[in-house]
Assembly symmetry: C2
Homo-oligomer: 441 residues x 2
């Protein structure tokens, strides 16, 4: 039996979406790697009753471990440590050594903001040094310490039933993540997860087919005698790609291999990743391996493709830069697009996309150029070129040879955000094909 | 008593973070606007037992309404309608009219992908036309219809207790959002939320202070006799800004006004928004009102600032474009930065940031130019210029007058993602100050 865990993400700002939660998913993935099964991730507001209810439900559902994130800050609405202490029936006490260590960290802050009231900071942070009896302190990465709070002590003369171990972590990902790595090495943590089963997980990524085709392939797999019930398969659409994630116990490796082989056979052109790599990583790898550089000229995506290409550390090795040519005048001045061409075809055309790709290469002296021009909406659509119409071109030059080129005109679904985001995905896949020399068909 | 609701977001891809959930937060905000209290947003994987458990818990917690998102697709792991039907004890039946309407939508798809197996599509989508007895169908926006499934029928001779009304919505936000707007107008929905209290909600946004200062201001508010217990205040850090959101019943308007006035008095420079507007919206408004145009020259942010400036619809009215100058050669060629200057000061310096801002203005003929150069990491840091060092400059020209300019050098915390994202926020606030003529101090 795999150990089971629940996650409780606290924060009204997360519940209402002013902040996107990055911790719940991150923790779920880390727990899976440890072979711990995650059934629920509960997002609750900053109300003590709601946090207590969530802990109570997960405890009654029989999980072995609860991870909380958030609610450890200096303000009044940060109350996780107190609620967890009470839930585990372990009274809070001030840990003076810890208070001193937190103060050392805060001193640096008061230097950065010299006009703050030092006493106010001391007061509002003292509560961060309150520790439930028997809990293990996880040293602060920011200013808030984390906690591993052991189960409620039960048995005669204390009635009740055992509760899960609760790991209390701060909300900021940059504090939570290193603290998690510390926590999982500690005995208090290992004891809670016991002998967890190790699962394997693999992801296939496809581009250019609807999700229903995968449903069809799964039916064919069953018809071919592949025991899909031995696998836990989930499919989802993400940024225009279909992801097929399969989780299974090690003895089912042969079943998975047969399934993966069938997907590869049915969708040879669409399957672009069978090792979990993203198209972004593949593009980076291809550019590095061929020692080629890249440059962009973007209209409707307004810099998002350049931003995406430079997301990866070390991208300065192959990204030279780009131009954001939102206005027609900028297309002419920065990307060298012929003014007459824009007049003849309009700014959104495959011809202008090609001129942008070539212009990006020329302006930055790059080996590969990418041009994007389109109508992201909500305004600007016409009958011929409805909102969502986007023209793409990728050109790769080799000395005096004519460029190796791929050009597409698509109508992408969705609103402004979707059209812009999806456009960067289409462009990444076109760059990948050009770098692999797949410009036919 | 306000009506209460719970949200259940299904999808292993969401639980494990391969997809960021946008629906839970969006629904929470819409429910709040309707005066419905949201305590919990539960994210569950695609396992029927886990979805059923989540429904059961929310029902036992006494909510009046459950909203689900996701699990309505064509693949085998999409099972929400079946689980909800079973939970409400309402058997599923094929709605043939609905099946026909879905088929009409799918025909368009088969035209787009002509080599698909039509029969496979029909088969894998027939299940989307299965409807629980007594449920109201919400017409498909994509291919999946939504459902409003009324409570379980109880009372003699059927034992049990009433369950909440369950609104079943598809996962893709572009389908969920219009369908939600349809759902809330229907009697089946209105009946579930009954006489909900209407709350007011206001947001204050501050930039340039730590969250602990707000904790201190709240203590001062209590000391000044402002009854903060009558308000529900939450504070959070988001992209480098502090957001203070207050929710209250209409009779507490005076208490809120007193609190808001105190925050404004204590933090006159840092409080930049008291009406919920974002700095992005303010910058757009200021550019429009003064009929000025803007251009960017970005190094470490690689186009993210241009991408952010063009997020808003209609931004082509004032964004001319920009240059992404990742390499030093690009800084010289596209932004006209003096090569000798880069040699003397390094590519990351306030001098180069100023040259980039001026170069952006010149290259695009814009009124306002923004330059950003820094070290996003993880590599590239030195003792003098550690990872996170970013130099910013915003210059606004008026004919032959010397530019109105603001320049800053900061060391931003966090990893590569945080440094790049935070840099765009710092730049937006500097643009705002320059546009407001606040370049002193």
């Amino acid at each position: 039996m795999a150990a089971r865990a629940g996650i409780v993400v606290t924060g009204t700002e997360v519940l209402t979406g002013r902040v996107v939660d990055r911790n719940g998913p991150w923790l779920a993935e880390r727990l899976r790697e440890l072979g711990v099964d995650v059934a629920h991730n509960i997002i609750v507001g900053d109300r003590p009753d709601d946090v207590r209810d969530a802990l109570g439900w997960l405890a009654s559902a029989g999980v072995d471990l609860i991870i909380t994130s958030g609610g450890l800050g200096p303000t009044e609405d940060d109350l996780t440590a107190a609620v967890v202490g009470e839930f585990q029936q372990r009274p809070l006490a001030l840990d003076e050594d810890l208070e001193g260590r937190i103060w050392k960290i805060l001193e640096a802050l008061t230097i950065r903001w010299p006009d703050l009231d030092e006493e106010a900071i001391r007061r509002s942070n003292r509560k961060q040094a309150l520790v439930p009896a028997g809990a293990t302190v996880l040293e602060p990465v920011g200013t808030a310490p984390g906690l591993i709070v052991p189960p409620r002590e039960v048995g005669p003369p204390t009635p009740g039933r055992p509760t899960p171990t609760i790991v209390v972590l701060p909300g900021p990902p940059r504090e939570l993540q290193p603290m998690w790595r510390t926590a999982i090495e500690l005995d208090a943590f290992r004891a809670a997860i016991g002998g967890a089963t190790v699962y394997r997980q693999h992801m296939l990524r496809l581009f250019g087919i609807p999700e229903s085709e995968i449903a069809n392939t799964m039916l064919q797999a069953r018809a071919a005698g592949i025991d899909l019930d031995a696998l836990e398969i989930t499919t989802c659409l993400r940024r225009g790609e279909v992801e097929v994630v399969t989780r299974y116990e090690p003895p089912q490796q042969d079943v998975y291999d047969a399934f993966a082989a069938l997907v590869a056979e049915k969708h040879p052109r669409e399957l672009f990743s069978d090792d979990g790599t993203s198209v972004d990583e593949q593009v980076a790898g291809l550019l590095r391996a061929s020692e080629r550089t890249i440059a962009t000229a973007e209209s409707c995506t307004g810099g998002l493709l350049a931003g995406r290409l430079t997301d990866l550390a070390g991208s300065s090795d192959y990204v030279l830069g780009g131009v954001v040519v939102y206005s027609d005048a900028a297309k002419v001045a920065l990307a060298g697009v012929d003014e007459g061409l824009i007049e003849r075809t309009g700014a959104v055309s495959v011809e202008v996309a090609e001129a942008l790709a070539d212009g990006a290469r020329a302006a930055l002296g790059a080996d590969v150029g990418v041009g994007i021009t389109g109508i992201a909406g909500p305004g600007g659509g016409t009958e011929d070129k409805p909102v969502g119409t986007v023209c793409f071109s990728v050109s790769a030059g080799h000395g005096s040879h004519p460029p190796n080129r791929l050009t597409r005109r698509l109508v992408l679904p969705g609103g402004r955000f979707d059209v812009r985001d999806r456009s960067t995905t289409v462009a990444m896949h076109m760059i990948r094909r050009v770098l692999r020399g797949e410009t036919g068909g």
